[in-house]
């Protein structure tokens, strides 16, 4: 009955999918802890709703655009719309030993979390309706094409030989640059740089970070699409890079003042981001280096962003964009066919060209992601408007968008 299905691989991909699913609400808690009390539910809901929204979009059209039969290297055809022909038997081009549906839903969770990452930049001021429309369009017009280019059979970046094991460019660089584009249209929060904008609940941030770390084992480990040595290797380097980055971050902060919980959590996430593209190609020692370098770059990038007074509020670009770029480029440095025969050697193993290919893939994502997002944001802004009114912003989005308050006094 199970034509070629391996139960161990299937178990691993299913549980990995569940782990990645958890990351979407987890990123909600990670972000919600950093906003003011009046915007907690808004932030949580903006993340969590994407799991719902993108799940339906993916079934209807997203999966076929991203992974459906290739049309000119650019996009998938509509042949798999509504999951027609996507069933319980494997699709060998993507994963020969698990049901095609398992590959489909694993990828679905990637699409959902990617959109959810963008939330971090627009918290505390974006209209819920506009956000839903933006997300639907962004998933369809930005995420799906890029996913096709990098991972789809026939996708042009894949042909080029770019390595992106679990989504450094597709997910993180993409979300980071799009977050910037969106925020440039949306504008700063009222009172930014003047009013008190304290993180209201840092334990929520820590909870989010813990669940993200946990979920990331599925994100990277699952990207091997089998429960084998490669999955294990990806799992190991994921953990080690997160560890190295978190330690690096608190040491950088300590040099200047104090090592904070917020910094620790941020560093961990940056490490997880940075190892994502590299996770199927590098050794544990390389992972330590990648984590440490990415944390340093991200740390100073956020410093710069703050000095420029851009209210890219929770640093999606600074964490995910920068982390993803550093990771993608360092994949070009540290990749080794000793880890993954199906990969390639990087600079350190005598193949400097890989760095260029990686940089090219990053650049394409930056340009495409920024441009399309900016246009999308402008169009929505001119039509239904991106932002809540000033008064709604004052009162808070929990009340104005959802008619709720997160915490009652009794």
């Amino acid at each position: 009955m199970n034509t070629g299905i391996n139960s161990g691989d299937t178990a691993w991909i299913l549980i990995s999918t569940a782990l990645v699913m958890l990351m979407t609400p987890a990123v909600g808690f990670f972000y919600a802890g950093m906003v003011r009390k009046k915007n907690v539910l808004s932030t949580l809901t903006m993340s969590f709703v994407l799991l719902a929204l993108v799940s339906v979009q993916w079934v209807v059209i997203g999966y076929t655009l991203s992974f459906g039969p290739d049309m000119g290297g650019i996009i998938g055809s509509l042949k798999w719309a509504g999951l027609t022909a996507v069933g319980q038997t494997p699709n060998a081009s993507y994963a020969a030993t698990i049901p095609h549906l398992a590959f489909m839903i694993f990828q679905m969770m990637f699409a959902a979390i990617t959109v959810a990452l963008i939330v971090g930049s627009v918290v505390e001021r974006m209209k819920f309706s506009a956000f839903l429309i933006f997300s639907l369009l962004w998933a369809t017009l930005v995420y799906d094409p890029i996913a096709h280019w990098v991972w789809g059979v026939g996708g042009w970046l894949r042909q080029l030989g770019a390595l992106d094991f679990a989504g450094g460019t597709v997910v993180h660089v993409n979300a980071g640059i799009s977050a910037l584009a969106l925020v440039l249209v949306l504008g700063k929060r009222k009172g930014y740089g003047k009013d008190n904008m304290e993180p209201h609940n840092i334990p929520h941030v820590v909870l989010g970070a813990a669940l993200l770390w946990f979920g990331w084992f599925g994100f990277n480990g699952g990207s091997a699409l089998a429960a084998n040595g490669l999955a294990t290797s990806a799992f190991v380097v994921t953990n080690v890079a997160a560890a190295a980055a978190a330690l690096t971050w608190i040491l950088l902060a300590w040099r200047e003042r104090k090592p904070s919980a917020l910094g620790f959590a941020t560093g961990a996430v940056v490490g997880l981001v940075a190892i994502t593209p590299a996770s199927g190609y590098v050794t544990p020692l390389a992972a330590i280096a990648i984590g440490a370098i990415a944390a340093t770059c991200s740390y100073y990038a956020i410093k710069l962003r703050m000095r420029l007074r851009v209210d890219e509020s929770l640093d999606v670009l600074g964490c995910h964009g920068v982390g993803g770029m550093v990771g993608a480029v360092l994949t070009g440095v540290f990749a080794s066919t000793a880890v993954n025969a199906a990969g390639a050697n990087g600079l350190l193993y005598g193949n400097p060209k890989l760095v260029l290919i990686q940089a090219a893939a990053v650049s394409v994502t930056l340009v495409y992601g920024f441009t399309v997002t900016w246009v999308l944001a402008k169009v929505i802004d001119k039509t239904i408007g991106l932002r809540v009114t000033e008064k709604e912003e004052d009162v808070g989005l929990d009340m104005s968008q959802h008619a709720e308050t997160a915490y009652a006094l009794r």
Binding site: K194, N196, D394, G396, H402, A403, E404, T405, L409
Partner: protein, 112 residues
């Protein structure tokens, strides 16, 4: 000396603080309260339909000041905290007999 107790909308705290600052008044104590007044309760979303909340979140600001600064402070708060809609809040003024600064044990006007 006077004690000014102002009950304001939470979202107006920053504006009031800055307005007072601009007038040279810095010191104050604030805390979260819940209030009922002319403003009727608000309807919040339950899973289905709504429920009524009768006590609305407000912030109470307490300022102890010299008698002659009192009117200026009241006016400043009124100007900064007003939206014109029911629920803007109220200011209560009462007499303070003595003030002591814990650190220095100074008391009376110099301690304000």
């Amino acid at each position: 000396m006077k004690k000014i107790e102002a009950i304001i909308r939470p979202e107006k705290l920053d504006a009031v603080k800055e307005a007072l600052e601009a007038k040279g008044h810095h010191s104050m104590t604030v805390y979260d309260v819940e209030g009922r007044g002319r403003q009727k309760g608000i309807q919040l979303e339950w899973r289905v339909g709504t429920y009524n909340v009768e006590f609305l979140p407000k912030i109470k600001m307490e300022i102890i000041c010299a008698d002659d600064a009192c009117q200026m402070i009241i006016d400043t708060i009124c100007a900064a905290a007003e939206t014109g809609e029911v629920g803007d809040g109220k200011i209560f003024v009462s007499e303070i007999q003595n003030v002591v600064r814990i650190r220095t044990k100074e008391s009376g006007k110099t301690a304000v």
